[in-house]
């Protein structure tokens, strides 16, 4: 917990903590004066849904209709399970999945292509 001036200091603190040997995951509760992240109060809507009392049943619920959610749904669909996938947007693949470059190498060698993008081309 704590407060710093800039958002980049919040991120830096998270990275510093993650860099400590033996640390795998970091919960970063530092806030910055630079940006105020508003938390919307959903308690009214939650109460409304509870009052409606509409209950659906499923064996597996997958939250998120990106490529991970859809791949998991497909993989589990081979079993006799009642599977439900929920997506908050009006279509699947609306966020990170849609706006990404995908490259796949046999053997999955990870970050070998991370670069500074300094590469330049001849003008034509």
């Amino acid at each position: 917990m704590g407060m710093v001036d800039l958002w980049k200091e919040v991120v830096e603190a998270g990275h510093l903590a993650a860099g400590v040997k033996g640390v795998k995951n970091v919960v970063n509760d530092i806030i910055s004066k630079e940006f105020e992240i508003e938390k919307t109060d959903k308690s009214g809507k939650i109460q409304e849904v509870k009052n409606n009392g509409l209950i659906e049943l499923s064996d597996v619920l997958i939250i998120g209709g990106g490529v991970s959610g859809c791949a998991v749904a497909r993989a589990l669909s081979q079993y006799e399970l009642n599977i439900l996938l929920v997506e908050k947007n009006s279509d699947i693949s609306e966020e990170a999945t849609k706006a990404n470059i995908w490259k796949h190498t046999s053997g999955n060698i990870g970050k070998t292509r991370n670069s500074e993008s300094r590469i330049e081309f001849k003008r034509q």
Binding site: A73, L84, I101, S115, S117
Partner: protein, 231 residues
């Protein structure tokens, strides 16, 4: 895996390979060392290199070969490393293919359904409160991407914080098709503070050239702004 998936699900997969271009002698020397470790099999003894050693179709190129493969590169590349088996797909198409196949197999997809809260029941089930209804389930799988930490927090599983980053990718018209033959990049720089996620020049399966992405830390998970300096 993706070769089979693309056949089974009918999405496009191309394997143009991926080229890392060297401009410094030290980069060439490191590449030669990697080649030595690969050829002799000694790389399998080094844990961080084990996965790398399993990759098929690696080629080490000299100056002439790089220029023949990519004649439009500026400067004088003195060598290159070509991972010939690297493939590219259209992520949206892959996601659609997975979803269609899942629905055919009986999965139900509910759109415009936002998770508001999650409660645990006494019989070890979970009651997920969405904006439409309550869904009671035995197993819950969190695939919420950049929102995954928010979902995890609903079940008091504070495990990590996601620091969102936004990026921009420039898409070139198909009239530039053939300008590059394989996605190209330069040697990795692990410095996080520069505003690139790596990548360099890439291709879509349809042949458009992509450039980027940039990367900028942002506190807002749904920010998709593109600013002039990104381009």
């Amino acid at each position: 895996m993706y070769t089979q998936l693309s056949k089974d699900l009918g999405f496009e997969l191309k394997r143009p390979g991926s080229l890392v271009v060297f401009y410094k002698k030290t980069e060439v020397l490191i590449a030669r060392l990697l080649k030595f470790l690969k050829v002799t099999g000694l790389g399998h003894l080094i844990k961080p290199l084990r996965q790398f050693m399993k990759v098929p179709g690696l080629k080490w190129l000299n100056e002439t070969e790089v220029n023949e493969l990519e004649p439009n590169l500026k400067g004088r590349p003195i060598g290159g490393f070509w991972m010939t088996t690297m493939g590219i797909v259209e992520p949206h198409e892959v996601c659609m293919a997975f979803a269609e196949n899942a629905v055919e197999n009986g999965v139900e997809i509910k759109l415009e359904t936002e998770v508001l809260d999650i409660e645990k029941t006494d019989d070890e089930k979970m009651r997920v409160i969405t904006n439409h209804s309550i869904i009671e389930c035995k197993y819950l799988i969190n695939c919420a991407g950049v929102w995954a930490d928010v979902i995890a927090e609903m079940v008091d599983d504070r495990f990590y914080t996601i620091h969102p980053r936004r990026g921009a990718i420039a898409i070139f018209d198909k009239s530039r098709k053939g300008f590059i033959n394989t996605p190209c990049g330069v040697v990795s720089n692990t410095d996080r503070t520069n505003n690139t996620k790596g990548g360099g020049a890439s291709l879509t399966p349809e042949g458009n050239m992509l450039w980027g992405p940039t990367v900028t830390d942002t506190p807002f998970k749904d920010e998709k702004t593109v600013e002039p300096q990104d381009l």
